[in-house]
């Protein structure tokens, strides 16, 4: 009843009054966790009638620059490695999960349902269904929230979600004309027909079609859009280089301090054991300054060094209902709480997802920016992060484009991406989401905070944000 009320309230207004919500919560009798006294403005985000969904564990393969050690693998090999790593970490019985969901962006044609191929290959029971989702750079976020939905709906109790991206090999197609000829060839009945079709092949037919990281709707590459976005918000080259350097420096420190516990070691067939991300390269401002713009020439500001690089990698998380996790004897790492997906103009606001998603997720949870202890934003480009921070700090932008009365507010930089980010750790499109969520859980544990926020932008002008709550220690 109270839950219904709440839902109705949420639908009516995105900003339910706090006291009301608290009142509603106090009616509940369920959770014992409320006893935990926190210094935060709220005790917990648990809601009556809504299942608590927990992150039990999260792992990932090392993220490698594409074309390096993983070069000869296939996408499902990486996903398999992540799944096996998860199994090892958690000692999960191979038939204990109800469903497996993977996110990926550029699909290997042979393994279009990469979730299923990887699950079978990783030794999961063949009785566990698996499907693959795609939503650009937030594909594995989508995999996790799909799983959360299945749990909330009572369909499942334990889910493995993950993401994989393999940029060392991408499907390069024959031209449309060539494909058409080849398809006709397979249907040709006589030798004459076949010879005729073969004879119709011209040199131009042989030009291949390469996949591009470009928007279908605008034909603009993402780097180009990021450069324009940075310019629109007046983000200087210096600011971008500084942010990129910060990301690499923090990532290096986190790596050296052994904070990146989600990374598992992976024995690559025919190669050595890989146990570290290889894209972290803290350099100097002088060196960064030397690079030429990569997309908008000659006056652009986005360079190879202040953009995320093409990466191979896979990630996996184990998500359960709290009851199930406890029943299986797990100690969950965090609660997955409110999340939102947003979308906007794919041309001029392609990468502003975090700006739009953050306030919505916070409002759903009834939190304010100051309640958040840990921020993990996806760093597609340094310019994109800086542009988002400036957008969140602008009353004009909030009023003109977001229909808000005041600005969103910026996350304090001392809580922001403290263990590096996509710029330095790497960004396997489909796998980044799980890394962000796992990192938030680990940072909350390490830093002793209560709430964390994940936000990410994605191609298509979409975005995502999720509130994560620390599991009481």
């Amino acid at each position: 009843m109270a839950a219904m009320m709440l839902n109705a309230m949420r639908r009516c207004s995105l900003r339910p009054s706090w006291a009301m919500r608290f009142g509603a919560c106090s009616l509940s009798t369920t959770t014992q966790l409320q006893a935990q006294v926190q210094t935060k403005s709220k005790k917990t985000l648990a809601r009556p009638g809504v299942k608590n969904i927990v992150l039990v564990e999260g792992v990932r393969t090392p993220f490698l620059l594409s074309g390096t050690t993983y070069a000869d693998l296939m996408p499902h090999d990486l996903a398999r490695a992540a799944l096996q790593g998860l199994l090892n970490r958690t000692n999960l019985p191979k038939d204990a999960v109800d469903y497996i969901i993977y996110g990926t962006v550029i699909q290997e044609v042979k393994t279009s349902n990469v979730a299923r191929e990887a699950a079978l290959g990783a030794g999961f029971s063949d009785k566990i269904p698996a499907h693959t989702v795609t939503m650009a750079c937030i594909s594995s976020n989508q995999a996790m929230t799909t799983g959360a939905g299945l749990i909330a709906a009572g369909q499942c109790d334990a889910i493995v979600a993950g993401g994989v991206e393999f940029m060392s090999d991408v499907p390069i197609r024959h031209s449309r004309k060539m494909r058409k000829t080849m398809l006709s060839l397979s249907r040709a009945k006589t030798l004459g027909q076949r010879l005729g079709l073969i004879g119709s092949i011209r040199l131009a037919h042989l030009t291949p079609e390469l996949p591009a990281v470009a928007e279908f709707s605008t034909a603009e590459t993402m780097g180009h859009s990021a450069d324009r976005l940075a310019a629109a918000f007046g983000v200087s080259r210096l600011e971008q280089d500084e942010f990129a350097l910060r990301s690499h420096t923090l990532a290096k420190k986190a790596q050296d301090d052994g904070l990146l516990q989600d990374v598992i070691s992976f024995k690559v067939p025919g190669r050595d054991i890989v146990s570290k991300d290889n894209g972290i390269r803290p350099s100097s401002m002088e060196q960064l300054k030397k690079l030429k713009p990569a997309f908008i020439k000659p006056h652009g500001t986005v360079t190879a060094a202040n953009s995320s690089f093409l990466t191979d990698g896979a990630s996996a998380v184990l998500i359960m209902s709290e009851e199930k996790a406890l029943a299986m004897g797990y100690k969950p790492k965090a609660y997955l709480r409110d999340f939102v997906y947003v979308s906007q103009d794919p041309k001029d606001q392609l990468l502003l997802g975090p700006t739009y998603g953050t306030p919505k997720a916070l409002e759903r949870a009834g939190l304010s920016m100051s309640d958040i202890d840990v921020f993990e934003f996806h760093e597609a480009f340094a310019g994109q992060i800086m542009a988002n921070l400036k957008a969140m700090d602008s009353d004009w932008f909030a009023q003109t484009y977001m229909g808000r009365k005041t600005k969103v507010g910026t996350p304090p930089i001392e809580k922001f991406n403290l263990w590096g980010g996509s710029l330095s750790l790497g960004h396997p499109f489909g796998a980044t989401g799980c890394r962000l969520v796992t990192t938030v859980a680990h940072r909350l544990q390490k830093e002793g905070g209560q709430y964390g926020l994940v936000a990410a932008c994605a191609a298509g002008g979409q975005g995502h944000a999720m509130v994560i709550e620390a599991y009481p220690q």
């Binding site: 605008t218 180009h224 324009r228 976005l229 484009y401």
Partner: protein, 792 residues
């Protein structure tokens, strides 16, 4: 009545989206002498760069008016005198407009060619100073950069332009019967091509003008593209301009940021331009680019005089073929360019200024400028804002016209319903709309994504489902009063009370159609011309009962569709069809008198019509022509006689319906560009042969017989109040029927030719043919009093 397909000149004339010459002179003149604070040009020094900002506070666009030029000179003098300044950036503060051209009223205010020549020379001098500036000047272009604006930009040392859709470069002077008179004919041939910077008079920006290898200063590389730009007047988009070498660097337009996209884009352009200016000063950006091998080969070829001569000859030949020598401006452009290239800059600049002066005072220029003003006036809604905006438009009949109307509506964000009675017809119509958009995609005017999202606004259907949401219904069904009545009743049964019913008819009186309506105040005529997406004109017909709001709404829809609109009174044939009918009747008589269709076409095109009379009849459709001739003949009596309607009827009976049926006056074969006279019409014409009267059958007489009947009918429409004024009459005749643009329309033609001379000719024809040529009263009034003019 359907117009013609080949009105290339016209469609080009009007495809321009931005005003190039806007007159705001009176205010400007009155303020000029006073020593007021500068209002049009200002500058700010940013470090070592002077940012010169142009902004005409009294207009939406910047024009090179007297005051603008004076303030610009002052500012540049200060910039040159300021030792702290190393370079300058020239930028407009207006979103969507750099400089749209010279102030046309400034030119029209001159009383003699010499005065205009002086004006041109002043412009030349000013730009010469910019070209020779010891401090590099970077033109930062966002929005239209046309005419004098482009001439200004190419005098600068470097050009940065935004890739915005609104950024277009061009020299549209030729469309006003003028030439680029401020150094354009001299600099442009040296600009276009791939060389970034090449000094006009060989006195370049001296610190940087080091000789580049063995090349002698290049003249001609851009000769063909320069001719193309100046002779067609077409707009060039920024990316194309970059490829041509007209622009050195491109800047992407920005989306929302901490300011509006428009504001921030201008700021960004300024920032990039400032960096460029600094780069030029520090020599990081070279003003001379290395030439590629192809470039060098081309240069070498062009260094031969006979090659250049061949180009002049070819271009001259093309111009003569297209203009029939009726337009002096293109020839003067060729002459000015040639003088500059062959005899050196001094002779070239002199030729340019003198030719400019001469052209400015020609009747052709006056006619074209008149049309330009008329077009601007006919793009305004003098009936005010309608109470309800049309958001859903339903079209009945998916034929050529119906689908054409859908085509120009659907891409304006209006939900468009296309209804037909048969699946096949509907499929053909929807395919036409798709093809129109897809062609735009292929020309890269829109992306395939935009095409798809535009098409999502189109609903094709066979029933009246959803018509209750329609704000306006335009019927384009068969021209039969009974069918029109039937659909009107069907529509009125389903639509909401505010919905307007518009009839796309070419001749049926609207009041007859409205007779079947329960709400005649909501019934109006909207006469489109075929092909709808190419023809600019829309003739709106109101009856005595049509409410003012209905008219306002119809005009608003037409304007949204990008049309030039005339609003005329009701009557058989309204204005356009009524003018065309007697001319076609005369054309049939001319054919009956034994003139070959090709000869007839030659006579009409050499008078300035873009399409010959015989071809026009084929385009319109012989059946339609017969139908109209008969209807109007009944309505207006013997005055509309001339050729025998039976000629047309016999042709229709034999299936010679014009282009659509493959045979008419000519035989049309798909894929063939040349057309032959239909051999079978010889027999028909033989059967109805009339013996010509040699007294009125010279080539010139035949031309005036055709034109005078057209003009007389037009004047009569004004006399009877069908027309609101001579301006709309001129626009309707030129844009809808292809009346010679160089004559500016029937009314301007009467003014310039002389009503008395025209009446004299008509009296001569009247003596032979009778009342077909009886001049109307208004024309006689003008003939009797030479001070009476239609255009002041």
């Amino acid at each position: 009545m359907a117009g013609a397909r080949a009105l290339g000149v016209l469609s080009r004339f009007t495809s321009r989206r931005y005003a190039l010459f806007i007159g705001n002179n009176f205010r400007t003149f009155s303020m000029a002498p006073a020593l007021l604070a500068r209002t049009h040009v200002n500058y700010e020094v940013k470090g070592d760069v002077a940012v010169v900002r142009i902004n005409d506070p009294s207009s939406k666009v910047n024009t090179l008016s007297v005051q603008m030029q004076r303030e610009m000179t002052e500012v540049m003098n200060e910039v040159w005198a300021n030792n702290a300044v190393q370079s300058a950036v020239l930028i407009s503060s207006k979103p969507g407009c750099f400089i749209a051209g010279a102030d046309i009223n400034m030119i029209q205010a001159c009383n003699s060619p010499e005065e205009v020549t002086t004006l041109s020379q002043e412009g030349q001098k000013m730009f010469e100073r910019i070209e020779n500036s010891p401090k590099p000047v970077v033109a930062a272009i966002n929005g239209s950069c046309l005419g004098g604006g482009l001439e200004f930009a190419i005098a600068c040392q470097y050009r940065v332009a935004t890739k915005s859709k609104k950024t277009v470069l061009g020299t549209p002077e030729v469309m006003l019967g003028l030439l680029p008179g401020a150094g354009g004919t001299q600099r442009l041939p040296k600009m276009t091509g791939s060389e970034g910077q090449n000094k006009g008079k060989g006195r370049g920006f001296d610190t940087l003008s080091k000789p580049s290898g063995c090349m002698k200063p290049l003249h001609n590389l851009g000769l063909p593209s320069a001719f193309d730009m100046m002779l067609t007047g077409r707009n060039i988009r920024a990316d194309k301009a970059k490829k041509m070498g007209l622009v050195d660097q491109l800047v992407d337009p920005l989306g929302p940021g901490l300011k509006s996209p428009e504001e921030r884009t201008i700021d960004y352009l300024e920032e990039v331009a400032i960096e460029c200016a600094r780069g030029i000063v520090s020599k990081k950006i070279p003003l001379r680019k290395e030439k590629g091998r192809m470039q060098k080969i081309q240069d070498h070829i062009m260094s031969y005089g006979f090659v250049r001569n061949q180009i002049y000859k070819t271009v001259h030949g093309k111009v003569m073929k297209q203009s029939k020598g009726l337009y002096p401006a293109p020839l003067k452009i060729i002459e000015s360019v040639k003088t500059g290239v062959e005899q050196g800059p001094d002779a070239g600049y002199l030729a340019e200024s003198q030719n400019f002066g001469e052209l400015a005072k020609t009747s052709e220029s006056a006619a074209l400028i008149g049309l330009y003003h008329g077009q601007v006036a006919c793009k305004k809604n003098r009936f005010g804002t309608p109470q309800k905006e049309v958001k859903t438009l339903a079209i009945l009949g998916a034929g050529l016209m119906g689908a054409g109307i859908a085509q120009v509506t659907v891409d304006k964000g209006v939900h468009t319903v296309l209804k037909d009675t048969a699946v096949a017809g509907l499929a053909r119509g929807e395919q036409q709309v798709y093809k129109g958009l897809n062609d735009k995609t292929r020309k890269k005017n829109i992306t395939s994504f935009q095409r798809d999202s535009i098409l999502s606004n189109l609903t094709g259907q066979l029933d009246y489902r959803g018509f209750e949401n329609a704000d306006m219904v335009i019927e384009a069904v068969f021209e039969d009063i009974n069918i029109k009545h039937a659909v009107l009743k069907e529509v009125e049964a389903v639509v909401s009370p505010h919905c307007i019913f518009a009839s796309n008819t070419s001749a049926l009186p609207i009041k007859d159609i409205a007779a079947a309506s329960k709400r005649p105040d909501k019934v109006i005529g909207m006469h489109y011309f075929s092909p709808v997406d190419k023809m600019q004109l829309l003739e709106i017909i109101s009856t005595d009962q049509t409410s003012k709001d209905t008219i306002a709404s119809a005009v608003a829809v037409g304007l949204k569709q990008g049309k030039v609109i005339i609003v005329v009174g009701d009557g058989p044939g309204f204005y356009t069809t009524r003018c065309l009918a007697p001319m076609l009747a005369e054309a049939v008589r001319v054919l009956q008198e034994g003139v070959d269709p090709k000869k007839l076409d030659g006579l009409t095109t050499s008078f300035g019509f873009p399409v010959g009379a015989a071809t026009l009849a084929d385009e319109v459709g012989i059946d339609v022509a017969a139908h109209v001739a008969e209807d109007l003949g009944k309505a207006f009596g013997s005055r509309f006689g001339g050729g025998n309607v039976e000629v047309l009827k016999t042709m229709v009976d034999l299936g010679f319906k014009g282009r659509k049926s493959g045979k008419g006056c000519y035989v049309y074969q798909p894929g063939l560009k040349t057309k032959e006279v239909n051999p079978d019409i010889g027999d028909i014409l033989e059967k109805y042969r009339i013996t010509p009267n040699p007294a009125v059958s010279s080539d010139s007489d035949v031309q005036y017989r055709l034109v005078s009947r057209f003009v007389n009918e037009a004047v009569m429409c004004l006399q009877e109040g069908i027309l609101n004024g001579p301006l709309e009459g001129d626009i309707g005749a030129v844009f809808g029927l292809g009346f010679p643009p160089c004559l500016g329309g029937p009314f301007r033609f009467v003014d310039s030719f002389g009503a008395d001379k025209l009446v004299e000719k008509m009296r001569r024809f009247e003596a032979v043919y009778g009342n077909h040529f009886t001049p109307c009263q208004l024309l006689l009034d003008h003939a009797n009093d030479s001070s009476k003019k239609f255009h002041k």
